[in-house]
Amino acid sequence: MKAFEQWVAFQTIFQREVRRYTRIWLQTLVPPMITTGLYFVIFGNLIGQRIGPMDGFAYMEFIVPGLIMMAVITNSYSNVVSSFYNTKFQRCIEEMLVSPMPNYVILLGYVLGGVSRGLAVGALVTGLAILFMDLHIHNLWITGLVISMTAVLFSLGGFVNAVFANSFDDISIIPTFVLTPLTYLGGVFYSIQMLPDAWQWVSKANPILYMVNAFRYGFLGTSDIPVGASLVLIAVFSAGLFAYCMYLLNRGVGIRT
């Protein structure tokens, strides 16, 4: 397949993904706004005023980056896992398998679809945050880079989950039992400086902590973790997952007999 044809095929998959989640916007774009809005009201405004400052910032200011990141992680992951599993379930994955598209085009199409939903939700939630506080961004480039790289990483994770999923239960197990606990324990609501030393070390084994802190640095200019280390970690995980996805696609795991 020529480069231009691959580009057309990539656009086709990406546009189909965008069409899919915008068609069902009530299920994909609105719920994260409601959930995060409730966090802003309850934790940020009501409880936050009693908690007092965190790392020198109002509690609302402190949790906003983590909550945006949480929405991006959840949505980029769930977009790819549900969409790709659905193509397996409805057998329309065969449309892609019989076509001459290289596997990396399929993968990139789905990943960019997941990234776009993650970033769309991130933008909506950020817009919502502006209603509750004056939003300042310390470093726009770091903010954009971290959020985009994180969306890529979790889109790839969603793809792996979908490849192995054999039922709708299988696509909710990882988000429920792995992603949600890791996100809540990833420094969204607190600084790990508050924890005893032992728990700080345990927390540092949680990759989401690095992403939340790097993103918070972009907003507030403060982080529990060096930003460079976070970026390297996200890049290494993404490269590893990309290679693993390609291996699964080339072998036909979960998609070919």
Partner: protein, 311 residues
Amino acid sequence: MSSALSIRNLRKVYSGGFEALKGIDLEVEQGQFLALLGPNGAGKSTTIGIISGLVNKSSGSIAVFGRDIDRDFSGAKREIGVVPQEFNFNQFERVADIVATQAGMYGLPRKLATQRTETYLHRLGLWDKRNERSRFLSGGMKRRLMIARALVHEPRLLILDEPTAGVDIELRRSMWSFLRQLNAEGTTIILTTHYLEEAESLCRQIAIIDGGEIVVNTETKTLLQRMNTETFILDIDEPCEAAPAADGYAVRKIDSTTLEVDVVKDQGLNQLFSQLMTQGIQVISMRNKANRLEELFVSLIEGNGATTAEP
């Protein structure tokens, strides 16, 4: 002129150890209209799956218009259009989007994809339904949608896996007409079907696969010439007490106005009618007891005795 499809010693062993294909060879010339017949589990769908990239082969080689799938699968796939047995499109997408998306997956630019989508939705009688969600189409329309989708990149080889299963007679006839026209325009067609009348009516070549092996691969007329005996049902004008005697023919009485007679190849029917006439018996109408190809198919499969179930 290279073959449209050339299969050499193709084997497929599933992970459980079941050998679905035992080294088949099949040559399909360009412009051919081939029926691939076989009982359930014979290996038809596995063969189609391997050709189209849905099933990994265990060994052997396949070339599509001279392109080996191990060396240039992308090029080979471009030449193939596949219409599967089961509906395999997104039930929530619009009809036109399904066809245009498939065009995009073959690298057709948007403008051309839109033109082709319109062309094939018109040809398959689905243009009025272009904005419908696919799940709201009738069964026959869904089948036609899959044909339109398979044709949108204008493949030179079209493979249809039981395209008329569960389709009413009128629609089946119109599909036959469309496929004949497509074949006349130069598209090589491979068809699997359980309707042997369909194979006899449409296809110039027939391959029969059974137990993972090709047991017959020849021209339809050559295959039909193999039949030694045909059984006819005769409707007669006056009731008869017993089966009339006819020299050289085995005549049986079904009921008072219906007879069944075995006619050996080259024996002809004139002698039979003459003998019945002399006994005052007029034949009003006559038909084959069963489809000719069906009789032959059953005898070949029973003779092979290798039918197995696919996992």
